[in-house]
Amino acid sequence: MEFFLQQTLNGLTLGSVYALLAIGYSMVYGILKLLNFAHGEVYMFGAFAGYGVLTLLGGPASPVVPVWLLLILMFLGAVVVSSAIGVGMERFAYRPLRKSSRIAPLISAIGVSFFLQASALYLFTAGFRTYDTPKLIDISTGIPVGPIRVWLVRVLVIVGTAVLMVVLTLWVNRSRTGKAVRAVSFDREAAEMMGVNVNHVIVVTFLIGSALAGIAGVMTALVFGRIFHFMGFIAGLKAFTAAVVGGIGSIPGAMLGGLLIGMAEAYTTGYISSTFQNLIVFGLLIVVLLIKPTGLLGKPQLVKV
């Protein structure tokens, strides 16, 4: 029982990070039908921004502000930087290609991904940085869940992600801008004709998706420690998988897909072997797509004939 609980917790933590990242993929695909392959790099820059704020405010061993305030500022810093990169990407790399073929923005996205990786390598060098979180929040600090003790940082990640997902869902369903996002995602031309400022909606979508990626970056670094210029590549790939499994274009689907992928990784490692982790995860992708090509919560697209 203890082992199962531990693996479930591990899967929830990892899945939460994937879910936050996958939401960004889904949101952008939903309105632009674009797979933003640079999304992983936005997450990476968010992690670096958080690290920078941490360093600026004294480091993990001796912060000059209370820990709770330090964490808030780290997340805020990541949100600002990631959002700025996301909005900048949209403005300069994707918007000019909006009227071109579907392949052009895809190639541009790949190019942006490499550009951001190389920029990070140039700015931060290849050396690993670490948040050294145990110095900030002791490993023994946590809450008991049955026979196991859950580190406070993992609680922060899981609860924080759940709160963000609820807030995002409420925003998408209840707010004026959220309605506009849904309208553009459903039919861009019709939404434009109804008076929706499509450009504004697209910018907001990139902003929110990138902000969530930045938050995911800081969360990852807090729990798992190391950040480096290449960290966005694999995380982005897994998050993309999660988005597709859940149903690309569907926000609840992205959340579900992220959690599923995280749990699959944890249970595979725990009950089979870590060697088969990626095999199972990507195998899951294939199986889901064979059974339900639109993903678990994706809706079939209507095509006018």
Partner: protein
């Protein structure tokens, strides 16, 4: 909140974020300095240290420096390293140490040696491409690199086909038998034939009966794990083995599978920062058994107190003759790790061989350079051991050293 105050708050947050990004760019991880001597602080001190290092190199690394400074020669050395890509943290340090070796040599000997970098991105195909480029560049007399054994195989095949006389000294490939596959290959590091059995012997002597081994799916790691496990099982030790990619950042699921009665966790990993995460997650889950890391974990990124790590050589910070060199390096470059000093040894070995040819009036051809390097017998080096090569191309007398990491981050020798 009024518009003006909202704008002010937003501007403050943006300012903090931008400053944060700048701070991230300007900062380095403190842990990389924990086991190294403090570097000189000013430019003047750095120049003095570098001059002292050049003098120390000339004195410590050869017995015939005074005799060899009569003729000034020209030479070009090639470096194949993963300067960008997933293990750029290895390549950057290797590049920096190679450049440092060249600078120290030029300063001490009055030469103008050039270093040509070839970035293989730790990719097999790219290694072959760079090897072909270096063959075509006839200025290059000898090469240092590549880093990984798979990359050595790729480049070695090209070198053997294109110009088997072109020397390439790998400063980090430890796979058993690889050096004798290629005519021009040599290495300045011991092999897994040394590290694996030595590690297994350490576990057996410590009374261990159960070991948990995780490889990181690199050729270095799997090869080392294979050798160590074979020796452990032959000694009757129970071994559990897992495998995890270097790209993984979360090991908690794997950590949860470690049995409570495990005596040691053995991580023959290339990425020390991953080892740190693994150790933290072990502590998180109450797994208190000690970690034993291979030489790839010998870095300031891994600081779990009570852990043991293997090293290519004695910690050069503990070798008096090498300390000025280390200080000189750290005065110019932000950080170092275990992959650096063998590069310095490789470059200076090649340059010494070229110098010997030059002084004796022999033509500087790749064939002559290879012959001179194979015959070299350096009584001392930055690694704290002599440098000479067996007919197989392996370093004679290479062995691994073991250190225990203390609470304050320093390392003390143990066993080995």
């Amino acid at each position: 909140m009024k518009k003006g105050k909202r704008r002010l708050l937003l501007n403050a947050v943006i300012l903090v974020a931008v400053l944060g990004l700048v701070a991230a760019a300007c900062s380095s991880d403190d842990t990389s300095d924990t086991t190294t001597t403090t570097a000189a602080a000013t430019t003047t001190a750095a120049e003095t240290t570098m001059t002292a290092a050049a003098t120390t190199t000339a004195a410590a690394e050869t017995t015939t420096t005074e005799e060899m400074t009569a003729v000034v020669c020209e030479a070009t050395i090639g470096l194949i390293a993963p300067i960008t890509g997933p293990v750029a943290f290895i390549g950057e340090v290797q590049r920096n140490w190679a450049q440092y070796a060249v600078d120290v040599w030029n300063e001490g000997m009055g030469w103008d040696v050039k270093l040509i970098e070839g970035d293989n991105q730790f990719d097999i195909a790219q290694s072959a491409t760079v090897a072909a480029q270096f063959i075509d560049n006839t200025d290059i007399l000898a090469v240092v690199g590549p880093a990984g054994s798979d990359q050595v195989d790729a480049a070695g095949a090209v070198f053997d086909a294109g110009d088997p006389n072109l020397t390439f000294i790998s400063p980090s490939s430890t796979r058993i038998g690889i050096a004798e596959k290629y005519t021009g290959m040599l290495r300045t590091v011991p092999t897994d034939a040394d590290q694996g059995p030595s590690t297994a012997a350490f576990f057996v002597e410590s009374g261990a009966t159960k070991i948990f081994v995780v490889d990181d799916q690199s050729s270095y790691s799997t090869g080392l794990a294979d050798v160590a496990i074979a020796a452990l099982e032959a000694a009757g030790v129970e071994v559990s083995r897992e495998s995890v990619s270097q790209d993984v950042t979360d090991f908690s699921a794997l950590v949860a599978t470690i049995a409570d009665d495990t005596d040691w966790v053995y991580l023959p990993w290339q990425v020390a920062a991953n080892g740190q995460i693994f150790g933290n997650q072990m502590a998180e889950q109450g797994k208190n058994m000690p970690i034993f890391g291979s030489d790839g974990m010998d870095s300031g990124d891994f600081t779990i107190a009570g852990s043991i790590i293997a090293a290519f050589a004695g910690d050069i910070a503990g070798i008096p003759e090498s300390v000025p060199l280390l200080e000189g390096f750290l005065a110019q470059y932000p950080e170092t790790n275990t992959f650096g000093p063998p590069v310095f040894a490789a470059v200076t070995t090649e340059l010494e061989a070229i110098d010997a040819l030059c002084q004796s009036g022999n033509e500087l051809t790749r064939e002559n350079v290879l012959g001179a390097i194979k015959a070299i017998n350096r009584p001392a080096s930055i690694l704290g051991q002599p440098i000479s090569f067996a007919p197989s191309g392996d370093l004679i007398g290479g062995r691994f050293f073991f250190f225990e990491i203390q609470e304050d981050g320093t390392k003390t020798p143990v066993g080995g």
